[in-house]
């Protein structure tokens, strides 16, 4: 045997380094030295790791790279994720035209004007949870009392899911997103959520309302299983991501008082600040997955049909050829070229909603709690390292 090839040394997931907001140093190093490189996965299989902004956009905007997990060679990040992706896939794991058919049933609910019309309702929800949190003495866990309940209630309202059941679906969403969940745990959590949503769909067949689940049923061309599957996707994606972004954004701003002060002095910066936080935090830490269905050249490297690709969004968002001093959080920069929501036809469907929720939640938090600060040393804040979506276990704050 020869010495270990350094190319083989790169593994998923790589450990994060000193800065808990930054991508793992090994991926950052790949960005600088081997932008398209081999990576070993949990089961010993190999995939390509693509790290540059331009190359990530090239893969994700190219139909020669499939999002369909049933295609041979598709890379899975764990046993549980294989279970989730390969069985009864939702449209995020389909290619066009199949994918577009389902996606276009939902895009009307996420057009900018319609989402913007939700502003007063979201503001009321944000104020309501802040009222509740500040009605008791500090400290409080900002994750449990604010960051998670806000998007959870918003997505329940849009779908027509009873919020009182939140503990049931939050717990199961977490299992679905956790890297170490076994295939059996994932199957069970998914089946329970699916059963719950099918029961709900059944009730709405008799008593329809004006929300998304009822609208999907009213189309008449979807089975109850398909309605439940699409609802499950929206329910899981709709609260875990925004919740983690809210908590991590708050922490990142508390950690960088100069940036927080700029935002406090000039609240009109909030829209740009949210784009910058999306870039800086890039919470989809596993990246996005594709498999080549034809051979294609990316960044000077040929990727053959049947080879898996991991597009590392977090390094693409710290590519210095696109973002100057990418390691710095700068709420005044124009960060709109970030790929935190992905790129191409699969780019996040709910992004206008996520943006609006983040803008309102952060602006309100900063305005209403001018003395907001950590209730524990920064070093003691517990990050979630074992999930598809980066986040915090809890965020103890005082005010």
């Amino acid at each position: 045997m020869t010495a270990v090839d350094p190319i083989d040394a790169l593994t998923y997931p790589a450990a994060r380094g000193g800065c808990p907001f930054a991508p793992p140093p090994a991926y950052q190093e790949a960005l600088e030295q081997r932008p398209v490189t081999r990576i070993s996965l949990w089961d010993g299989s190999r995939a390509w790791l693509v790290t540059r902004h331009e190359d990530v956009r090239a893969v994700m905007g190219d139909r020669r790279f499939s999002a369909d997990a049933r295609k041979p060679g598709f890379p899975f990040l764990s046993d549980g994720r294989r279970e989730l992706a390969a069985q009864n896939p939702s449209f995020i794991r389909m290619d066009d035209p199949e994918h577009a058919r389902f996606r276009r049933m939902l895009t009307g609910d996420f057009i900018i004007k319609r989402v913007e019309a939700l502003r007063p309702a979201i503001q009321r929800i944000v104020d309501g949870f802040l009222d509740e949190m500040t009605s008791h003495h500090p400290p409080a866990d900002l994750v449990a009392e604010f960051a998670l309940p806000v998007p959870s209630l918003v997505i329940c309202m849009l779908l027509g899911v009873p919020y009182q059941d939140h503990a049931y679906f939050q717990e199961r969403s977490r299992i679905l997103l956790r890297n170490h969940s076994t295939a059996a745990q994932v199957r069970r959590a998914r089946d329970e959520l699916s059963d719950y949503l099918q029961e709900l769909a059944k009730r709405k067949e008799l008593e329809p309302d004006e929300h998304i689940i009822s609208k999907l049923i009213a189309r008449g061309d979807l089975t109850r299983e398909e309605v439940a599957g699409m609802s499950l996707l929206l329910l899981v994606a709709g609260h875990e991501t925004t919740a983690n972004m809210t908590a991590l954004s708050t922490l990142a701003l508390l950690r960088d008082p100069a940036q927080l002060a700029r935002l406090r002095e000039d609240p009109t910066l909030i829209k740009g600040a949210v784009e910058e936080l999306l870039r800086f935090l890039s919470i989809v830490q596993g990246g996005t997955l594709r498999v080549a269905v034809e051979s294609a050249e990316i960044g000077g490297t040929t990727i053959e049909a049947g080879e898996g690709v991991i597009c590392m969004l977090s390094t693409a968002n710290r590519d210095s050829s696109v973002f100057a001093t990418p390691e710095a959080l700068d709420v005044g920069r124009d960060a709109r070229r970030h790929v935190a929501f992905g790129f191409g036809v699969h780019q996040c469907l709910g992004q206008p909603l996520a943006r609006l929720e983040l803008q309102i939640a952060l602006e309100t938090l900063i305005r209403r709690l001018p003395d907001l600060r950590l209730a524990v040393p920064f070093e003691d804040v517990r990050f979630r390292t074992d999930t598809a979506v980066h986040g915090l276990e809890e965020l103890p704050v005082t005010w």
Binding site: I111, I112, R336, H346, Q347, P352
Partner: protein, 65 residues
């Protein structure tokens, strides 16, 4: 500057509408791009270039003389 859009490539992200609402809109049904001003005035051109650059479906083409 002349702008054209390809609705077949549009994935309804709405980022063009956010970037330049004077030039782009979305269909009420499925959010697909609608072009309001194919020849944007000078003060909007930089925003139109940004909209084209961030469009996830590469559905916006900017023709500059």
């Amino acid at each position: 500057m002349r702008v054209s859009v390809d609705p077949g490539r549009c994935c309804s992200s709405g980022q063009c509408v956010t970037a330049v609402p004077e030039v782009f809109d979305q269909s009420e049904d499925d959010g697909v791009v609608l072009l309001i001003q194919p020849e944007p005035p000078a003060d909007l051109r930089s925003a139109v270039r940004t909209a084209a650059a961030i469009c996830p479906g590469r559905a916006i083409t900017v023709h500059e003389p």
